[in-house]
């Protein structure tokens, strides 16, 4: 199999995909697909061709073709990604929910059409229900309305919430949710602000 691994930041423990039951024809299609992919894109704006190169998590999840990965692969993906989580040095996990709401609404950032100088949003509403007043929410992810009431405002919840936004694959292998911290999409402060949107009692999410 062709490898295009190029890991940024913390190196991941290699995730071996044991016997993913691929027929020889399937292997060939995968190789052809990788070749087609690299011949079919050109760099634009802030986006270079390295975006096509997969890390181990992306490769393992692609091989699963939309199905859940085998249990042992999932466990490895989660462990490797959990190891990447960098908690804030100041120990504060909760920021400003008002800023968090703006980040949750904003879908810009990292596209070749976007200004590389930002802003970059989290686009949480694309997939999740959050504040009740926003009718245009997606359903790819679960509703997070009244998150605080359901999870309780404990230190454990705060740590989980920060880490889930930082690297979703740490808790759910092959999640559809981006790894906002690990992949450098959102800053630490932005993650704190989104965590506040979920956990601040004054946040509209909890009204």
């Amino acid at each position: 199999m062709m490898r295009y691994a190029k890991l940024g930041g913390a190196a991941l423990v290699a995730i071996v995909v044991p016997g993913c039951a691929s027929a020889p024809g399937d292997e060939r299609s995968a190789a052809e697909a990788a070749a087609a992919l690299h011949a079919s894109f050109r760099p634009a704006g802030q986006v270079g061709l390295e975006r096509l190169d997969q890390d181990d998590t992306q490769r393992a999840c692609s091989a699963a073709s939309g199905k859940p990965p085998p249990r042992e692969v999932a466990a490895k993906i989660e462990a490797a990604n959990l190891a990447t989580v960098r908690y804030p040095a100041d120990g504060k996990l909760i920021g400003d929910w008002k800023n968090g709401e703006k980040i949750a609404q904003d879908g810009r950032g990292k596209q070749f059409s976007d200004d590389p100088a930002g802003p970059v949003g989290g686009n949480c509403y694309a997939c999740h229900q959050l504040a009740k007043s926003e009718l245009a929410f997606g359903t790819i992810g679960p509703s997070l309305y009244r998150y605080l009431e359901r999870r309780g405002n404990t230190v454990e919840t705060q740590r989980y919430t920060f880490a889930k936004i930082y690297n979703s694959e740490a808790f759910a292998a092959c999640s559809n949710m981006p790894r906002f911290g690990y992949k450098g999409i959102l800053s630490e402060q932005q993650i704190k602000d989104v965590a506040a949107l979920l956990l601040d009692p004054a946040s509209p999410v909890n009204q």
């Binding site: 024809g25 299609s29 995968a30 052809e32 697909a33 087609a36 992919l37 011949a39 079919s40 894109f41 050109r42 760099p43 634009a44 986006v47 061709l49 975006r51 096509l52 190169d53 997969q54 992306q58 490769r59 999840c61 692609s62 699963a64 073709s65 939309g66 199905k67 990965p69 990292k110 596209q111 070749f112 059409s113 509403y125 694309a126 229900q129 009740k132 009718l135 245009a136 929410f137 997606g138 359903t139 790819i140 992810g141 679960p142 509703s143 309305y145 009244r146 998150y147 359901r150 999870r151 979703s168 694959e169 808790f171 759910a172 092959c174 999640s175 559809n176 981006p178 992949k183 999409i185």
Partner: protein, 268 residues
């Protein structure tokens, strides 16, 4: 999907009032879409496209009326519903857009760069002949059952590559086509997301492209749909008529086989 679903179990589901608000929102959005059906500006592109198809153009000053879209030279009726397919003269699997470029080059004498100019239009400043031609040819397949062939080995190979690309995760956000289009009954913001790996989902989606996008005021082709999905996936720029574009189109068009073609549609 797995990840999100397991998180969903942990978090419990949306509470009742929210669900209620959601259903009345869906009703009103359905009304909105229904109100747009009467009077689709895509027709303005169809008129222009028909004119371009029939007009003598290019260095050779001939029309495209001898262009073979797969059903014989000049046959437009129903051609879109049988594309992409393998063309022996080009020795390539081609979708409609790349076939149009081929005909503009071989019949009319345009250079490939001229033929591919403005694949995606931008108002009156940069109008796209390819979008107009595509709208016209697509409109001539209305009601025709999708029947995309996989008889040629190259067609089958393209389908298999397209399927792989559909699940290919990459970029800063780990997105694949399947991230949004791999599960039935989901939506992004208020837009329903078909599961394109199933016949039902592919039929509902593929047969409504090209479409007039009200958010842009433009007629958009299926090549544009793929181009803009990849932009939002945070991938680099998809090359017009590239192998990846055509392989994905074969995968999705073939999955839609059996459904009556009903584009150009109108979408938000």
């Amino acid at each position: 999907m797995t990840g999100v679903r397991s998180l969903g179990v942990v978090l419990a589901l949306a509470i009742a009032p929210a669900a209620l608000a959601q259903s009345s929102t869906a009703d009103e959005i359905a009304k909105y879409r229904a109100a747009l059906q009467d009077g689709n500006p895509a027709e303005l592109w169809e008129i222009r496209g028909e004119g371009l198809w029939k007009a003598p153009r290019g260095p050779k000053q001939v029309s495209l009326e001898r262009c073979d879209l797969g059903l014989g030279p000049g046959v437009v009726k129903g051609a879109y519903a049988r594309l992409p397919r393998y063309f022996a003269d080009a020795d390539r699997v081609q979708d409609l857009e790349s076939r149009l470029v081929w005909c503009m080059v071989t019949l009319q004498g345009f250079t490939p760069a001229e033929a591919r100019k403005n694949p995606f239009g931008n108002g009156s400043a940069a109008r796209s002949d390819l979008e107009a031609l595509t709208a016209y040819v697509a409109s001539e397949a209305k009601g025709v059952k999708m029947d995309v062939p996989l008889d040629h080995p190259r067609e089958l190979a393209a389908y298999r590559v397209g399927e792989k690309l559909f699940y290919y995760r990459g970029g800063t956000h780990d997105f694949a086509c399947a991230t949004c289009h791999g599960e039935e009954g989901k939506r992004i913001r208020l837009q329903d997301l078909p599961d394109l790996a199933t016949a039902e989902g592919a039929r509902a989606a593929y047969t409504t492209w090209p479409a007039y996008r009200v958010s842009q005021g433009e007629l958009r082709t299926f090549e544009w749909r793929l181009y803009d999905c990849f932009r939002q996936q945070r991938f680099p720029e998809l090359v017009f008529g590239s192998d990846a574009a055509i392989a994905l189109t074969v995968f999705l068009a073939r999955n839609a086989n059996g459904a009556p073609f009903s584009a150009p549609g109108i979408k938000r």
